[in-house]
Symmetry: C2
DNA sequence: ATGAAAGCGCTAACAG
DNA sequence: CTGTTAGCGCTTTCAT
């Protein structure tokens, strides 16, 4: 049985569909529709369990009450937590979230934006991959609200919410140096995105500030889509070839998790043979014996700022077309010593 | 600037919109449209970067190429991993995923189904909360594909993919008993859903099979939305009041993670003072010192079976209306000894 | 082999 | 205060 339509409601109530539509959209008051009619119509709506067809509504009004969320990988706890928070707030405003994972593939990312576009999502929340700048530019040109996060695209005049990655590794490295470490390794991922670059710079700058030479051989970039065994082999090599390493800073949580596995295999004793700092907190680090210090990103706040900006833009999109300033939010990471 | 419509393409190519539509939908051949026209139209489509408006298409055809995913909490790694797998396969078939978290609240769950319905999603993947049976029944009555997972609703004739929860705790408990444990505590969550009930039954049955009496005081049910500190206090009490506990089985991964924190505080030494088994694997358990044994659910396979069933139903929904048998998939957990 | 036209369900300008 | 009506962009039947 097909669901009831506005027409059915109208005929059953002996009113026009306009009347029903107005009541549905809370414009009954403004249109001075009689209380009696309003109540009658609402009773029938309830009786038939009628819900307006959002697709038809979208076609007519041009907005879908849907926000597109594009991240690298929704199963990464960092993104999953943000997704959850965003969903929560969006839901309260009647918005739904459609998500997609780019796997850091610009082609897929472009394709996803295309798909979302054809589905007419009202706004985009994107953790950008390199090479996607033009697609985002096009969105912006069409006055569609966009917020990017996690990574910034410095060339783009777009809302963003990022964490100060440079400072994150800077304070972590400084901490290691202050506690007397001399040979600090840095393990990162082979992605030349703004955020990873800055994490490297923070590490290097701290070393320089302490007049310690940056040693290329203590720096390892693991390929993004490297297999588990390749990653392990690469890390293994790093530690075996450089037994003088007395501390290691991992630039992502999943690398740190892999690294801990490798160190365990090598029977390196953490805090005795060497110190470990991870980036992005995770239960693993808190419960590890010994616990692992981390650079923590304020996930809740990231999510909140993102969705606030989106909802703000969404609310004002039909209002004054005054060119709103873009929001540039840079949050500070914190170092959690354990 | 508004995006191009099929009309624009048609007029620019001097053909009717029908022709364009046929070409768009791969029906050009069948309609024997000349090659010249096809090529001309396609060139113009590419030139204008035209993509069909999926909303209009949906209104007309009644399908949105969107699947609604309703879980308890998308940020839970179990659900996030499944979400990722499902997204992947769905994407390849041109489907997008809209997700929502129920927070185990039947009211919210109902509301979500309502929202998805009004958005005309083509199919539902649901980790059901109690009290939602009727809403699912209604979906089924409307011949909308539904797959439920994680928890079964025994009263419903609906596709499901679940893991044998009874057997999961049974084998874990048996393992503990075989290694000579006598006072095995069971920590679970205060949710009387099929899946949690079965985990309790598996534990109890194993004890009975070994002629060991089930002791109520070694069983603790933490409230679902209990605060961290309350949960910790409750666990603390359990271990302090019952120093004879020589093993503990946690029925969820997040409870086990909290439990490990508490045991750490109590300075209990794992594998010496007592053994610990968790439910659902997690990096935390693998990397823990000592590593924690777990009952592992085959996440990949769960996701695969779910999406396969959904896509199958979606593909056959317009075909013969023969009443397809519902798929009942029960997967086996494995015990990972560490 | 191609075009005209109806209509999916809804909103909102306009007319009474 | 309420009704009529014109689309939103697309698919598809029917006609040519």
């Amino acid at each position: 049985m097909k669901p009831a339509s506005i027409k059915d409601i109208a005929s059953k109530a002996n009113v026009s569909i306009t009347t029903v539509s107005f009541i549905l959209n809370g414009k009954a008051e403004k249109m001075r529709i009689s209380k009696a009619v309003i109540e009658k119509v609402q009773a029938i709506i309830k009786e038939l369990g009628f819900t307006p067809n959002q697709v038809a509504r979208s076609l007519r009004t041009g907005n879908t009450k849907t926000i597109g969320l594009i991240v690298e990988d929704i199963s990464n706890p960092f993104f999953a937590s943000i997704a959850r928070k965003i969903e929560d707030k969006a839901y309260k405003k009647g918005y739904k979230i459609s998500y997609s994972s780019t796997e850091n593939d610009p082609v897929k990312a472009k394709d996803l934006i295309e798909m979302f576009k054809s589905r007419q999502v009202d706004a985009y929340i994107i953790a950008p991959v390199p090479g996607i700048e033009n697609d985002i530019k096009r969105l912006l040109a069409d006055k569609i609200p966009v917020v990017i996060f996690d990574r910034n695209l410095p060339d783009l005049e777009v809302n963003f919410v990022v964490v100060d990655n440079f400072n994150g590794t800077y304070i972590a490295t400084k901490h290691l140096l202050d506690s007397g470490k001399k040979n600090i390794a840095f393990v990162t991922v082979d992605l030349h995105v703004d955020q990873m670059n800055n994490r490297l710079f923070g590490y290097e700058k701290a070393l320089q500030d302490y007049n310690i030479q940056v040693r290329k051989d203590l720096y390892t970039a693991v390929k993004f889509d490297s297999s588990d065994s390749n990653t392990n082999a690469q890390l293994m090599t790093l530690f075996e070839n450089n037994p003088e390493i007395d501390a290691v800073l991992f630039s992502t949580n999943y690398l740190a998790i892999k690294g801990l596995g490798v160190l365990k295999q090598l029977k390196k004793e953490i805090n005795k043979d060497l110190s470990v700092i991870a980036y992005d907190d995770h239960d693993v680090f808190r419960l590890h014996s010994p616990p692992i210090s981390v650079v923590d990103q304020p996930i809740e706040e990231i999510a909140e700022r993102i969705i606030d900006i989106v909802l703000l833009e969404l609310a004002s999109v039909n209002k004054a077309v005054k060119n709103r300033e873009v929001s540039k939010v840079i949050l500070q990471p914190t170092f959690i010593e354990r």
